[in-house]
Symmetry: C2
Subunit: 900 residues, 2 copies
């Protein structure tokens, strides 16, 4: 019985006894293919346990490893009829790393191992191709010196290039066997000089050098950084795969290539791939020669002239087609395969699940489910929810004659129009006032992130497809054009210069098309994208699979309509503050805020009532009986007042008020920390008349909408920023009073529910008390994150950059939930709330409600719904379905929060 080394393709495939994690991805796939009887060059895998041993014992190897490897080599020799280091039919080997997950920074491959000054001659004799043998030897020395001995490739390239220019050659293929022999001599001399030792002629020494190099690469700087970033434990280690060489460069009946079982860009169900005739693996990567299409259909589609593999080697091709089909069926997923054809014989070198484009992922998953290859659940899991909202953004109407004022890269899809703003701060404050803006920057930095969230779109004049702006905007699903080099931002005068001398100022309307990279002046007609059948079907499957409902955060009838089209099952958060900024309302709002007494406030509120009622009526009508959660006025009142001198004078005139008095009133409302100030339910407690007006507007609108649609409206009124049970009790009392009045006045019985945001740590901790007054909880994770971390979302961008640079914080907790801190409070809130009231409805309405990782966490808490912005609704539907499936199959994957 063996301990460390497992053979494959040498008769019995020993490595099947060992679990995949210890064999590594590559070793496991080779073993599996060998077991299936597919043509795999015989080989052995040194399992990852040896890597652990290597590091625990100061880079030493375990007892018995040597004997086991020798036994393995003898099996390969037996299977191939060749001898490792043999002077007649030498066995050559490839040595490759292979850890549990694919990881950059690991040693890749050493090919042709076993060649030396003797065996190279035997290889020449054996293959009848002296040039081939010496070229292989040259490549081997170069590769080995690089990855095992640590000598820079450039030295060798220099020798090679010098010799070729002396000879006047353009391609390496022009070098003769003798010329290659000379080059090998020069290589060996170089090694002597640089390392003070000669190239190892002993194949066993070569082999142990390569094995050590693989293990050593586990601690390369790049691998270490990658592990840290992805939480990969050090002690997983890597396996080593040692395999008999096969040659794709033994003439025009040999080839090497890569194939996908389906098209990874489009998802089309057809073998797809490229190959090079008479070449070794690294030639494909080097990109010196243009690869040829494997299939004839692929060749025609690409308009290429060089013949396809299908045409050139029909027998090997047909074998590849069969192998591909078997592998895809076996693994139940798109396969990405490496193969070599040696003198007409197909050999499989690797197979793994293939990466694919977002659209292709959906098509492949749906097709495979239709073909019965995978279950519907599996198809749902296979699609990344984050990619969905990219498919939902509007595009510019095709019949519109666009005359661009600039163009850049299509960094994040979607066409949007907004006012130009030149700073993140302006974007945030404009957003707070309900204005739609495009953030225009030379380039963006982490400081701009919250401005980007607040903007409809982002335009930069510098940076590529992977610039900060592009990466972040794609992540957010915000349309973005980057690197519009024919435009210029003048921050001094706040002007955007477009082509043809066009000038655009802050506040001017601009349209960007993140799908094409075009920039257009003014507003432009857009149209919604046609959603594919696959998309609609996937949503249907997701809806059937998920437990949590998906609602939307919608403040306007427009948002509500969009969200319903995207499948929202209600409104989880309707913020009322934006309504007070619209048109002339702000004037009345200011009159209310600046009133001397309650009577004055009530007079202004009476004017606001019909406007609020109309807002709610329209939203109720659109939602047609679906639940609508309306939050009472939340921001501090000073947010509605003029900020600068000029505005103050204007407002004073409009309100017929002394400017000095107005200034005094504005200053009296000043707060050091508005986030922790006079807002939320604190307003309703100081000025109950405001909450009463809002409650009246809601109830009267519910009566009207119910009469209009015939569907009973069950409004949910949400009291924000509660930390004490008594706060909710007080405000609920006022709301109940108004409900009674409206029912009497209308003669209609209303069902309604009063609940609260859980957005402060104290509310989470005292959830059992608060639940006694609440019909529902909505977890307000934005504010809960702010207070749990003591971190202002608006101010954090100024220093969180340093945090991420120094590795202190991995994820932005405003993007994805902090499971450990905020998550524990959410857990306490749900547990304690339900303890007090088992039928308590609990949802989430923070931005995290549209984030798949956070949605997975919400499923572990068994929330009733998540609520997110309209364009995120499909993402949330899919993510909620995945969460349901994963919670069923693997509850631990939701990252359970230990309450210690």
């Amino acid at each position: 019985m063996t301990n460390w080394v497992y053979s494959f393709g040498c008769g019995e495939t020993q490595s099947l006894d060992i679990d995949r994690d210890r064999l590594g991805g590559k070793g496991a796939s080779l073993a599996e293919m060998a077991r299936m009887g597919l043509p795999v060059p015989p080989g052995l895998t040194i399992i990852s346990d040896v890597c652990q041993h290597f590091y625990v014992h100061a880079k030493g190897f375990p007892d018995g490893l040597k004997q086991e490897i020798e036994a393995g080599l003898r099996a390969i020799e037996a299977a191939t009829g060749r001898q490792f280091g043999g002077a007649e039919t030498p066995l050559l080997l490839s040595v490759r790393s292979g850890s549990r997950v694919s990881m950059p920074g690991m040693m890749d491959t050493v090919l042709n191992l076993g060649l030396n000054d003797e065996t190279v001659k035997a290889l020449a004799a054996d293959t009848g191709d002296e040039r081939f043998a010496w070229d292989s030897y040259r490549r081997f020395i170069q590769m080995y010196a690089d990855v095992v001995l640590g000598l820079d490739q450039e030295f060798f390239e220099e020798i090679l290039e010098d010799r070729m220019s002396e000879l006047g050659y353009a391609y390496e293929t022009q070098l003769s066997a003798d010329e290659l022999k000379d080059i090998v001599s020069e290589y060996e001399k170089l090694l002597d000089e640089e390392l003070g030792e000669s190239f190892p002629q002993d194949p066993c020494e070569q082999l142990w050098g390569a094995i050590s190099a693989v293990f050593s690469s586990w601690t390369s700087a790049r691998a270490t950084a990658y592990r840290a970033l992805h939480d990969i434990p050090f002690d997983w280690g890597t396996a080593v795969n040692i395999q008999a060489m096969v040659f794709g460069n033994l003439g025009n009946d040999s080839a090497t290539g890569v194939a996908f079982t389906r098209n990874p860009s489009t998802g089309e169900k057809a073998l797809y791939g490229e190959f090079l005739l008479n070449a070794q693996g690294e030639d494909v990567v080097a990109g010196i020669r243009t690869p040829q299409s494997i299939t004839e259909a692929g060749r025609i589609a690409s308009g290429a002239e060089k013949p396809s593999l299908e045409k050139l080697m029909p027998r090997a091709f047909s074998e590849l087609v069969t192998v591909a089909a078997r592998l895809e069926r076996h693994y139940g997923d798109l396969q990405d395969m490496e193969f070599t054809i040696e003198r007409g014989t197909l050999w499989m070198l690797q197979t793994r699940n293939g990466k694919r484009a977002a659209g292709a992922a959906m098509k492949i998953a749906m097709d495979m489910a239709d073909e019965g290859l995978i279950s519907r659940d599996e198809a749902i899991i296979r699609v990344d929810p984050a990619t969905l909202d990219q498919m939902l953004h509007p595009t510019i109407s095709p019949d519109f004659k666009a005359n661009p004022v600039g163009s850049g890269l299509p960094a994040s899809p979607g066409a949007v129009t907004g006012e130009i703003v030149f700073s993140a701060e302006e974007a945030i404050s404009a957003h707070a006032e309900g204005r739609k803006v495009i953030l225009v920057r030379t380039e963006t930095s982490p400081e701009d992130i919250h401005g980007m969230t607040a903007a409809e779109g982002v335009l930069t004049t510098r940076g590529g497809m992977t610039s900060h702006a592009a990466v972040v905007a794609r992540g957010m699903g915000v349309p973005c054009v980057t690197g519009a080099g024919n435009m210029r931002v003048d921050r001094f005068d706040n002007i955007l210069h477009g082509v043809g001398g066009v000038l655009m100022h802050a506040g001017d309307l601009v349209t960007i098309d993140g799908s094409t990279g075009r920039v257009l002046k003014g507003a432009v007609p857009t149209q919604k994208p046609a959603l594919s059948d696959d998309f609609q079907r996937l949503m249907g499957w997701a809806d059937a699979a998920r437990r949590m409902k998906v609602r939307t955060n919608a403040d306007t009838p427009g948002d509500a309509r969009t969200a319903r089209e995207f499948g929202a099952e209600g409104i989880g958060l309707c913020r009322t503050e934006h309504m007070f900024f619209e048109g002339d309302r702000i004037k009345t709002m200011r009159r209310m805020i600046l009133a001397e007494d309650e009577a004055g406030r009530r007079a202004a509120l009476d004017q606001l009532l019909p406007m609020q009622r109309a807002d709610f009526e329209e939203i109720f009508a659109i939602m047609h009986g679906l639940p609508v959660t309306i939050r009472l006025l939340d921001p501090p009142l000073h947010e509605f007042l003029p900020k600068n001198e000029e505005e103050r004078e204007e407002v004073a005139r409009a309100l017929d008020m002394e400017t000095s008095l107005l200034k005094q009133r504005v200053e009296a409302l000043y707060e050091f920390n508005p986030m922790l100030g006079h807002r939320g339910c604190r307003l309703a407690i100081s000025f109950p008349e405001i909450a009463e007006m809002q409650a009246r507007a809601i109830f009267e609108a519910a009566v009207a909408a119910a009469r209009l649609t015939g569907e009973a409206v069950v409004p949910e009124i949400m009291v924000p920023l509660v930390s004490l049970r008594s706060e909710l009790e007080y405000v609920k009392g006022r709301i109940d009073g108004i409900a009674g009045t409206v029912m009497r006045e209308s003669g209609m019985t209303l069902t309604y529910r009063v609940g609260t945001m859980i957005e402060l740590p104290r509310a989470a901790l005292r959830a059992h008390e608060i639940a006694e007054e609440a019909a529902f909880f909505s977890l307000g994770t934005n504010d809960l994150t702010q207070t749990t971390f003591g971190l202002s979302r608006d101010d954090a961008p100024g220093f969180l950059g340093a945090y991420q640079k120094k590795g202190i914080l991995e994820r932005d907790p405003f993007m994805s939930l902090d499971f450990d801190g905020v998550g524990e409070l959410m857990k306490l809130a749900t547990e304690r709330g339900r303890m007090a009231k088992p039928d308590l409805q609990i949802g989430i309405c923070g931005e995290h409600g549209g984030d798949p990782i956070s949605i997975r966490f919400c499923e572990t808490l068994a929330l009733d719904y998540v609520s997110c912005s309209p364009f995120r609704v499909p993402t949330a539907r899919l993510a909620a379905a995945q969460a349901s499936i994963r919670e069923r199959e693997d509850p631990a994957s939701g990252k359970a929060v230990a309450t210690a």
Copy 2:
């Protein structure tokens, strides 16, 4: 066996079988005195269960009550030889309420119950004093009509006064029996007219009326409000005491009075009290006649001429002395007794623990412990820690010739000097800059509370000893003069007008003496109060009894010195930010903040280093080896920058910088929510060079102070505002680096400890992770309260008033810990921190560290120390001792936090 009614003084004292809570305080003391064989008029107690029944059953009485009361009355009749309603020797009764705790708003007493048109004659015959009998009847009708029938006393007073002025009498005593009969007739006529029914002649009807009135008074508005305020459960209810009348108004061998077993003002061990000759209880309360001293010594001390009880009735006096001594010994505390002497015979009507002045409380407790009456633990418990710091404030030097510019009431003791500020905001910002100010207001309101905390003293021109300013300042231990009516605040020009036309402007120095009420212009020499021996001994006992250490929050050498004198055992919080405001340092600090790059910052920091080092050196030397916890720079940098245009220009000139550039830099540092912004350890992560400079100053100072004092200094460096373990890890790494450098440079081995504030909810939740990096935790309950409630301490005063008015919040959570919310996080932090590191040192440094209720809670968490401001140190020592004793005796009294 009886269920509802228990007799005392009628042979067997039944009421001893029943617990004190159901008998009420008065009933219990009467039963106890009867059991001791003291002279108590026989009576019965209706237990408080009947009150519950009364409310549960719509003001009905339980079955059997009537029979039980009748049986009780028969026992009283038997004991007294009188008959209730009897025409010959009528039994008269007093009816008094008596709940578990003394409570305002309850019905007090109905005396002489049982008198009617018949029994009044019998009483006259029986006592041989017709005038007495009719006067008693008149009083009874008047009292009964008031408290039982609800008819206003004024009606009766009017009749009485009219008749007396007709007769030309000055005193009621001049009225003859016949004249009193006429008045009784007029009273009865009045009742007929006002109530439409005649005065009840049936003694039983009178009795049931009085019982109902007692129970009904349980829901009087005042009683209800009081219960709500003090969390007294409604269902406690009140008992009713019914007792045979004894008369202090049966001639000059009768008297009624109140006595204390010791002097409640000074604590002196001598009977103390007052009496009126020939009078009934309510005459003492009415204050028409001046009471006489009970003891001869008391008479002499007060310079009164009227003879003492000791002289007038030596036998009754000597009996009272004996009774008083027995009662004090029995109850082990100062007794407050009511007594009546009827024709030379002493009757005890009530005894209870007496209220006493703060200084007296200490003396009495110490004396009683010395006398062996109570244990030392009990003596410690008996002194209210909140009263201690009033004894510690400085007074004006007696040899200073004070020329007051105003005078008011001595509302809160202590003499202090500071700059005049006219608003709470100015007080707060001046305090933040380390300036000492006196807050001068016409009167204060809850909005001013945080300004009052920030001020050295408070002066108001309106309001009395119980005005808002007076009450709050006393609670805080802040010196205060209220109602300085000869001064005037002109808020328009910000001028304080003093007597003699003196004008004082904002920023001028003023001194107030809260012990005398004087206001003085400029600074005035003050001296420390001499601490009494009792004070010092009590502190010694407390130190022996307490488990928790007491440290101080001290930022300056002066604070450190004061605190050591008051017994501080270390510094729990040394804030470093104030140090940067001093003198010229602010200029260098600003240069550091405004530097373009790290090099510029380091240059300025190099200049700050020697100043910081000198600060720390002095503090270390003063603390002489005691632990000193120094917090790294905490506030956001913009707090150090100029706030207005004028200041900005000045600073720009001083720093040789363009004003526009400076303005730009200041604006760039602006934060929406500074409390949640770029501060605490976030500064150390963005600009590690600042933390490094501070660490170097600390270590170099520790080396120097150790060489100076010969005591090793073990500095504790505290990293503020940590929410992630990685933050602490990063900053600790920098500190450790500097420690190594300083040790190499100085050739001295330093022991030091790095720890963190736990002041954010996330830090409390992740305490087990953070503890792995921390040598100690300091619970920063100010910020923890802010973040747990989402409540800015600076902004809350604007709306917390409405909260308290509406009964939504009982205690200000910034004054006394919120056990339920903040307390649970503290509990989690200590449990989880110790789980990870059992020897983790944990203290508290928020303002709660000086609040007795909060200190009690800290003991339940077994914290290692509390830290508070220097003047609070004695309070904290005593409170910590009480907490230790109570935790031993009654762990539940600390209010265990349920983790649900």
